[in-house]
Subunit: 291 residues, 4 copies
Amino acid sequence: MRALTDNNEIATLLIHCPDHGGLIAIVTQFLSHHNGNIIDLDEHVDTEENIFFMRVEWQMKGFSLTRAEVKEIFEREIARPNDMTWSIHFSDRLPRMALFVSKMSHCLHDLLARYQSGEWNVDIPLIISNHELLAPVAERFEIPFHYFPISKDNKQATEAKQLALLKEQNVDFAVLERYMQILSADFIDQYPNRIINIHHSFLPAFPGARPYHNAHKRGVKLIGATSHYVTADLDAGPIIAQDVTHISHKDAVENLVRKGRDLEKIVLSRAVYHHLQRKTLIYNNKTIVFD
Amino acid sequence: MRALTDNNEIATLLIHCPDHGGLIAIVTQFLSHHNGNIIDLDEHVDTEENIFFMRVEWQMKGFSLTRAEVKEIFEREIARPNDMTWSIHFSDRLPRMALFVSKMSHCLHDLLARYQSGEWNVDIPLIISNHELLAPVAERFEIPFHYFPISKDNKQATEAKQLALLKEQNVDFAVLERYMQILSADFIDQYPNRIINIHHSFLPAFPGARPYHNAHKRGVKLIGATSHYVTADLDAGPIIAQDVTHISHKDAVENLVRKGRDLEKIVLSRAVYHHLQRKTLIYNNKTIVFD
Amino acid sequence: MRALTDNNEIATLLIHCPDHGGLIAIVTQFLSHHNGNIIDLDEHVDTEENIFFMRVEWQMKGFSLTRAEVKEIFEREIARPNDMTWSIHFSDRLPRMALFVSKMSHCLHDLLARYQSGEWNVDIPLIISNHELLAPVAERFEIPFHYFPISKDNKQATEAKQLALLKEQNVDFAVLERYMQILSADFIDQYPNRIINIHHSFLPAFPGARPYHNAHKRGVKLIGATSHYVTADLDAGPIIAQDVTHISHKDAVENLVRKGRDLEKIVLSRAVYHHLQRKTLIYNNKTIVFD
Amino acid sequence: MRALTDNNEIATLLIHCPDHGGLIAIVTQFLSHHNGNIIDLDEHVDTEENIFFMRVEWQMKGFSLTRAEVKEIFEREIARPNDMTWSIHFSDRLPRMALFVSKMSHCLHDLLARYQSGEWNVDIPLIISNHELLAPVAERFEIPFHYFPISKDNKQATEAKQLALLKEQNVDFAVLERYMQILSADFIDQYPNRIINIHHSFLPAFPGARPYHNAHKRGVKLIGATSHYVTADLDAGPIIAQDVTHISHKDAVENLVRKGRDLEKIVLSRAVYHHLQRKTLIYNNKTIVFD
């Protein structure tokens, strides 16, 4: 959709590995040595687990290695000797995002508006839904809409079809925008740390169904929203973003739902933005977000 | 400590009862009829439970009834016919607050500073603790400090002594400032909706022990504090005030503890302030706060 | 667009007048007397200015007066004797809202999504713009789009045409969604307290042009957004809603713009929602919001 | 007051200089080369001004250079060739903080509670005031209290005495806790970027006197507090921390003052904490805070 010239191209490297002194120096020197101009660097050490995390961005312009070379040489000289798990991303490759929706449109509208206005550098090749209700929204934004009605009987077969579609469309990651189906562990395994959900509570409070009703019943003075990577444990995956808003005794459940919608869409969009910017690293069911 | 002249005296009436049309008119007319100048009025209807809540303040100056008369006539003419639960408070009677502490001083310091500077109209006749550590703080602010070491064996007897002390001192309500003991149901029954606790999480998440450790383990992006009235169910009483602060992967547990301290003391002080202002009404394990 | 049956119809009365004891009783008794079941009541006294404000909602079902009668009798018996400024609204009449835009689409998308999904009970008969850029967005949501290019020479004539269009369409109020033109005092006079703007700073800081650039230059640690009624004084009208978000030294101006967009659309939508709910009263260049 | 053993000693280096590729590698390699185990590193590049900022912490245990050597060698080999402005701090030297107060005690109480409880590693050798009112608070916390009444006639002479006292007490930095005097430019020059103030508004809105009154008059829906380094321009120095709280039409000025007190003390304490942790770097009237 949007192309960046080679001149502006940026490489992003994400790393985690057992910590030992000197890792920052090792990586930054590697890049300096090959003439890479670092434009952003973040690092973190989990001192309990003794794990080192790093994200570094540099300009490909002037860098003395090709994409293939940097991968090969970095792996051989830096990653393997230091036992690193790593990935590299180049900014001219737009991530491909699939959207899953059911009946509620607020998150969908919000993400499509960001896409359509050019706020986000992303491709959205498809929207998947278990209801037909939001097909007109997809049509309005000219995104192919795939309707998969789901019942107990067809769930496994439907997920297989959905997965085939995601593969066919080279989807990098998926966003569940108040998608009211629980994905199977098999499905999730195909996209580890690449399915983002929004849950309408400040987790771990009020997991599962009807969190606004439960919040109202408990008489809390805050409601929240939590965006997290989906794992096989319901609403228990690594948290990317959370926020809350104050409520009072005046707020009936329908008011919590109304106020919550704004939280949900903003929190989800923050999480997706961090993911798109390659600012997230996952370890031990937690998310490092280099904000 | 601080006395208000009769001229400035304010009466506060708190009411709840089954809702029916016209309750506001009935109460406001009663006050108007007796020449009461209303200076603040809040009402709320819980439409699910069909309960009416009201708080009204008026000036005693110019009011045509004495304290004794207003109680008697209001009960006979208004409260009984409408099945009201009600209480009335006069501003020249300072509430008497007992503080319970263990080893952490941040909430204690904060409340004592508000007391000492005259920010709050309250009397603090005593501090009770199961440790001696904070005796010097009490001494510094010239509040009698009562040390009650607690073991499994003496818990019941100790609570009896504490209760006797509270009665002797005409204590109206108690504040648990990170008091690390669980009060017995019998104790709580003596002060229903009159014991305020601060819990260091956004309840209902992370009840019980070590909430910051559990928050860290779960990888949340927010930590919170909750002040609530104490009931026999641990950390499950009616919530008065809650707030949160954002955290990140950089925050080790000790940082959560540090940031949490500020939340705890501010949230607790908001709750105590609302209670002191007679702005709270409790029904169905929830708190109406007429903020 | 959406019709309510007579049975569910709700009347809303907004009042302000010089304060004196007994106003609440007078109004609630009037409604009780005519069999009006009050479902919401808020009042406020500005003790400095000695002005009484009130908002009351009741069910028309069972009410013994017609719409015409309630207006006539309330005016004669209650409003005139108490020197009240007042208005009454019935819930089956959808407010008609005009949108003004320029080149930025985030607020427009957000409001149209609320409209399209049925979140808001409002009609949007037209969008007015001084640029053609957002015509496709209007088309996507099937709202008539009126393009009025503006230059120094044609400003007065253009405003006259815009006003004629607003009158023709029976517009009740207008929302400026990052509309980059300053309306003349004459234009504003036609819609007093009925034009809502969003300014991208926490006013009164950074009024006028380029607030994010100025915020960045000043090195603030917060950015904000403010929604207010438009008056002849630029960015100085009565404030309806404000909010902020934390920023850091890492945030370049383009990041402030990005983070600010989310604030702008949420703050603007809160203000428009309050206006739609008839929850706002304006006095002395300030806004009472009965939230 | 509190001593750290040599084993736990931590060195902190703060740097800023013109940016060029490789600075991170140069510094981290210097430390690695001398066996310094880096435990925290933050860096930032101001791409507009092309300035590089860095903060790095390492353990002195195992480091192969003495304090004197690290200063000399770093200056010669790293700082001078790269045109660096830098400072180094060792964790066994407690910073010495002077407090300036007038009549309001909330910030003073808050900071003294942090000091007294051991929350902060700091020495407070003295409190300076232009009023006697808070002498009992100082006495309660056993901090020497110096009373300097100030008039137009004696201002210059008084400041000279205050400065002499600060020098005599080896004060590192000063905190103005609602100190209601404007320090002269000469005074400020003696402690550049080492005097921290709290202003009771979200600057740049409502600088100077009576910000709560002005906020009330303007009808804002938020109030704020700002902590900044003091410069010769009133309330215009580099901002360290800011925060806000929501208010409504119900809040009279005295309520803004009450709610504001909590903001002021929390925001000031965050700023002082960042300063104590050597997390702040100042450039171009802005503050980098490596939070």
